[in-house]
Amino acid sequence: MEVVLAIAIGLLTGSGVWLVLRPRTFQLVIGLSLLSYAVNLFVFSIGSLAIDKEPILVDGVTPNLTNYTDPVPQALVLTAIVIGFAMTALLLVVALASRGMTGTDHVDGTEP
């Protein structure tokens, strides 16, 4: 499972960075989305991966990380998802405004 997740994060980051470096605003927005997916997966995986272990305490089970999964990364990733989503939406609006005002979708606002 670790290998699959690591490959997924790597692929998302690689594609995201490549798209962020492209000159069109649409590519930029998609690239930033992929990058934030990769970061979210990374934050989620940092509390070690576990199957069938929820972070809710049950009577009679010792509360440590062998019986439960770490709840903090789940809380962090939730915050990060919300913030990342809002920022991407804002960037999309700014990109649309830029397209309307400059007549081009180049990130510099002028065709090279």
Binding site: V39, L76, T79, A86, M87, L90, S98, M101, G109
Partner: protein, 543 residues
């Protein structure tokens, strides 16, 4: 008293909430609320500063959760000074904006309060992830302020500014989660306590996490080569927004100073990354000084000067000398105040050059936002000999002179005192050690060279604006526009007169940052407030 620490976050949040509910045409009321909030914020920050200076750091537990589990706000001398600086500059920028810029778009006062809220939170928090959240709040508000007034140049600058900062936020998250994964804590004080033990497991991962985090902070602090977003954004922003953005780069510097001193001042990880900070800081300062020399517009030169001061501060942190850091913290205050005043002044000068004689009719977006072509100074230099200078021209001229000398660091102005404190501390102990001596020599020559280049660049602009611009009408300036600039420059002269106590405060702040124990103990020993026993008769009713 520690409860007051949460006020700089709550106050602007509540005011912004009220402002959003008010209709757009009730602008005067919104401005009054904003002014009251900002004045109150200045007083709260001053009270906090005086309190922590005599009593040591204070901690406020948000939601009354015990320390490693909940979020803690901690205020020490550095945080309180940064808070005071933020709120004072906020007040000046808001007053300037109330003259006319607040009418350029919607929600200006509310966005401004949210900006102050994000800045205050970032200076107060003692939790790395909470620092990320407050960074996002201040960035979200800064996107709104940058777009205030709209127009093609602002939207174009915003695309790059937003994209750059979203990337920086992703980098920030990677760093935070790496550090959490290795150490299992997000609280800065607990992190410092865990890393100061005799041996640290997985130190390479901590190094990697800290380095990634430093990249995020250096993007905010506009360190080379990640600073090309700054000048177009600050030039396009409306002047009151640009004035408050002068503090924004200092947030990156603050975060670096805070974390690097807590994590790497001592213990097995001591000194990690200091050489990198030193080299990149000096490179940033030098390149930004050349940037000032290469630009013709005053606001662009001021934007570059913000980067010069950020670079100098990062380099001072990289020297790892406590006394140099003390000088740098003193230098931070007047250099930020000077760039804030200069951003405001640049707007008045631009309006004057554009020939606007009626303040109301002045356009919110002039054609001059495009980079001007080179002009030959001799062609249109009309002599001004024998012509009386109207008071408003004199005001602009003297204010410009003050800003330029402050940015360049001339005696007896406080920026000079800060530079002198940094350089004498860097050169002093270095006489015996050859490596340290070379470093100090490089540091001193770069800082002095930056001052010279800044002086040349600003004097050239000044000559072109004030001495060769004959035949213009005297500028029309409102009191609300003149007062903040004069007040900020007056504040700098107060800093010169009161340099002794202020310098002592800066050095005490640097010593307690370097020592760390005071901060760590204040945060880790913060007690949860137990709820008082319910009075008789109000106990839980039996079911």
């Amino acid at each position: 008293m520690p409860h007051l620490a949460v006020a700089p976050v709550l106050l602007p949040m509540l005011c912004a909430g009220v402002m959003i509910l008010l209709a757009e045409h009730r602008r005067p009321l919104k401005l009054v609320i904003g002014a009251a909030s900002t004045l109150l914020g200045v007083l709260i920050s001053l009270a906090l500063l005086l309190w922590v200076d005599s009593h040591g750091p204070a901690t406020y537990l948000v939601g009354n959760w015990p320390v490693p589990f909940g979020i803690a706000l901690a205020v020490d001398r550095l945080s309180a000074s940064m808070l005071l600086l933020t709120w004072v500059l906020g007040g000046a920028a808001l007053l300037f904006g109330s003259a006319r810029w607040h009418r350029a778009g919607v929600y200006f006062p509310a966005l401004f309060q949210l900006q102050l809220m994000g800045l205050s939170g970032a200076f107060l928090t003692a939790d790395i992830f909470n620092l990320f959240v407050f960074f996002e709040i201040l960035l979200a508000a800064s996107y709104g302020l940058l777009l205030h007034g709209s127009g093609e140049s602002r939207v174009r600058a915003s695309v790059r500014y937003v994209a750059m900062n979203v990337v920086a936020s992703s980098v920030f998250l990677i760093g935070v989660s790496t550090i959490y994964g290795v150490t299992g804590t997000l609280n800065m004080a607990e992190l410092a306590a865990r890393l100061s033990g005799p041996s640290v497991a997985n130190r390479h991962l901590i190094d990697a996490g800290a380095a990634v985090l430093a990249v995020a902070f250096l993007i905010k602090a506009a360190a080379w080569p990640l600073n090309f977003w700054l000048t177009p954004a600050y030039r396009a922003a409306t002047p009151p927004a640009a004035a408050i953005f002068a503090v924004l780069t200092k947030v990156g510097v603050y975060a670096l100073v805070r974390l690097w001193n807590l994590l790497f001042a001592d213990g097995p990880l001591a000194g990690f990354g200091a050489d990198g900070l030193f080299a990149f800081g000096l490179g940033t300062a030098l390149l930004a000084a050349f940037g000032m020399l290469a630009s013709h517009r005053i606001d662009v030169q001021v934007s570059w000067s913000v980067i010069v001061s950020a670079g100098t501060l990062v380099a001072a942190l990289g020297t790892r000398e406590e006394v140099v850091l003390g000088g740098a913290l003193f230098y931070l205050v007047p250099s930020t105040v000077a760039s804030c005043a200069a951003f405001l002044l640049a707007d008045l000068i631009e309006r004057w050059e554009a020939g606007a004689t009626v303040v109301e009719d002045a356009p919110f977006l002039t054609a001059k936002l495009e980079e001007a072509d080179d002009v030959n100074l001799d062609d249109d230099a009309a002599p001004l000999v024998g012509r009386p200078i109207p008071a408003s021209t004199a005001l602009l001229g003297f204010a410009y002179l003050g800003c330029a000398l402050l940015i360049a660091g001339f005696p007896p102005l406080p920026t000079f005192l800060g530079k002198a404190a940094m350089l004498s501390a860097a050169i002093g102990p270095a006489a015996q050690d050859r490596v340290a001596g070379t470093r100090a020599a490089i540091f001193a020559s770069v800082v002095l060279c930056c001052g010279l280049l800044a002086l040349i660049a600003l004097m050239r602009s000044g000559i072109r604006t004030f001495w060769s611009g004959g035949g213009r009408q005297p500028p029309v300036i409102r009191a609300a526009e003149a007062v903040p600039i004069v007040a900020l420059l007056g504040l700098c002269s107060v800093l010169t007169v009161a340099a002794g106590p202020t310098m002592r405060l800066a050095h005490t702040a640097a010593r307690s940052l370097h020592d760390r124990q005071e901060y760590i103990e204040a945060v880790l020993r913060a007690n949860v407030t137990t709820s008082p026993a319910p009075p008789k008769g109000l106990e839980q009713a039996p079911r």
